[in-house]
């Protein structure tokens, strides 16, 4: 293989174990590409020298038994990494160096994966285009007639880094679609596991009842491998699930015969582009041709998911982000007394989108409005969850598009918050109901931009999700159309 960065994660690890290349060779191949890819602005922090040293150590020790041995992995800059700056892409954390490691990343390094850097995202994971980062926009490796496009968000740096071969795989976080929507925009696989499947310990919190870490990878098998490593009960996160699990990767199979697939009519939204509807029909046909049983289903409260989300997520965020007060860590702006110091710190430290969401959250939780907004949204959340409970009496998995459109231009949706929020219309339901969901690239549209379908599974049934996605992947055989225009 001339270019090691084109390998999937599974292939990379196999190469190292079979000594087709050394860990140092693999890491160096990525380092070389990363150094030529600053234009994409994927990285908040690069950790290249340490990465090379770790690779050399692996080569010297000659112990190649670990699951991810030698795999260079950059992670979203929302995971606390001990001794490596962790910013959540916010000015308020721009000088924060954690003294501890998040559970998810610790699990990666325990399997001898190698940290190569921290990836840009929307500030505190709030955004759908990576335009709210304090450290600048991330560019999508896909372009429209030489014009730059957003990578999606909030895990935009993760998505572009995988699509541009700057990391062998990555982990992002998903609160309303932040793994799946950018995965769709960049032609990669993104999996949001069931709420509780992975520990949230050490992840900068956005909305604690919705946040979940998950793999963003070149293909479905890579996603299964990462999920095998990062999932599991953690006593440091009381919401992490104490469920037995076997290897998702070893259990993966290309067989959808008899599988009952639900197609929810409520996801056929007004003014959905024809190419997205066609894509959906294509997915239905592939599954049908391979022996799956297609069933029309109804998830009647779908249209209320996004409004409920925009009460619940900001409410939780306003509470979680109260800790950024300029006292113990992070940025501080001076003030004449303590209160003014708080107010100036938070005013100068947070960007516009984060402030907006804290304000909405504070409002819906404030005295006199709590019942009308927050309590109402919690009830609607239950209705949405019950929609899925009912649907899963008849079907095993649900098929929808991931996003209503392909990737868009910078600035196209920044003036209207609702237009931006509508990006998450198909993804947000899985967060509210806590269900696992995967985005899978299917093909490129006539402009050469990736389009993706989403599968939503039953609680803790990531295996069916991975099997179904794997079967579709084998049929569509999506190939990256990324041309290295930035190098």
């Amino acid at each position: 293989m001339s270019d090691l960065t084109k390998l999937t994660l599974v292939e990379s690890v196999k190469y190292i174990k079979e000594k087709k290349c050394s860990a140092t060779e693999l890491v160096n191949a990525y380092v070389k590409r990363i150094e030529k890819s600053d234009k994409l602005n994927c990285f908040n922090t690069k950790d290249l020298e340490n990465a090379v040293n770790k690779a050399k150590k692996i080569d010297t020790n000659k112990k190649l038994d670990k699951t991810l041995v030698g795999a260079p992995i950059a992670v979203k800059d929302l995971f606390c990494t001990k001794g490596v700056k962790t910013t959540a892409s916010s000015k308020i954390l721009s000088n924060f160096t954690p003294t501890y490691e998040s559970t998810v990343t610790e699990k990666l390094w325990n399997e001898d994966a190698i940290l190569i850097g921290k990836l840009n995202s929307d500030e505190f994971a709030m955004g759908s285009s990576n335009e709210t980062s304090s450290f600048g926009n991330v560019l999508n490796p896909y372009r429209l007639n030489n014009e730059n496009l957003v990578p999606g968000g909030s895990s935009g740096g993760c998505a572009s880094a995988v699509a541009a071969d700057l990391t062998s795989a990555t982990v992002g976080t998903d609160t309303g679609g932040s793994i799946r929507q950018p995965a769709a925009f960049t032609g990669i696989v993104g999996l949001k596991p069931t709420y509780g499947r992975c520990s949230r310990w050490g992840i900068v919190a956005f909305a604690s009842s919705l946040d979940q870490a998950g793999p963003m990878t070149k293909d479905v098998k890579d996603a299964a491998l990462i999920l095998d490593v990062i999932s599991g009960y953690d006593e440091k996160d009381s919401t992490s699930a104490n469920k037995p699990k076997s290897s998702f990767l070893n259990s993966i199979k290309n067989n959808v015969k008899g599988l009952k697939v639900g197609v929810p009519k409520e996801y056929r939204v007004d003014d959905m582009p024809k190419e997205v509807d066609d894509l959906w029909q294509e997915g239905i046909k592939i599954l049908k041709d391979n022996g799956a049983i297609i069933k029309d289903i109804s998830l009647p409260h779908t249209k209320y998911a996004l409004p409920a989300y925009y009460i619940i997520a900001p409410a939780e965020a306003s509470s979680n982000l109260a800790r950024y007060d300029g006292v113990r860590y992070g940025f501080r702006a001076e003030g004449k007394d303590l209160t003014e110091m708080y107010e100036n710190t938070r005013s100068k430290g947070f960007g516009a989108e984060v402030k907006k969401r804290i304000m909405i959250g504070t409002y819906v939780l404030s005295s006199g409005y709590y019942d009308a907004y927050y309590l109402k949204a919690q009830k609607v959340r239950n209705l949405i969850k019950m929609d899925f409970d009912n649907a899963y009496k008849d079907v095993d998995v649900i098929l929808t598009p991931t996003t209503p459109t392909a990737a868009f231009r910078f600035g196209e949706k920044t003036d209207d918050p609702i237009a931006m929020y509508l990006n998450d219309i198909f993804t947000v339901t899985a967060n509210l109901a806590g269900l696992p969901a995967i985005s899978l690239p299917i093909r490129c549209n006539k402009d050469g931009l990736p389009l993706a379908l989403q599968l939503i599974g039953k609680s803790f049934d990531e295996q069916t999700l991975l099997n179904t996605a794997y079967s579709i992947e084998q049929q569509v055989n999506f190939k990256s159309q990324v041309k290295d225009w930035w190098m």
């Binding site: 113990r328 907006k356 304000m359 409002y363 949204a377 806590g434």
Partner: protein, 95 residues
Amino acid sequence: MSINKDTIKKISKLARISVTNDETDRLEKDLNSILKFVEQLKELNTDNVEPISSVSDQDLTMNKDEVKKINAKDDILKNAPEKNSNYYVVPKVIE
């Protein structure tokens, strides 16, 4: 319900975020458009629906009651914007 400039001032006080007049104009526009959007929920009758704060059906477990010594004081204090020996320093609270 809609939000006016006075409400923005009140929320910004609660949230401990100072806002400039320019920011208030933009926030008034954006927050009202978001509120209008979320008010669709009023169409739904939820009288007999239980509110949920989480989807987890798992009971909270108890961890072992044991002392774990983590002596990272110096490292932790490295992140402080202002410190004096082993203390965080903040502007004067009591006159």
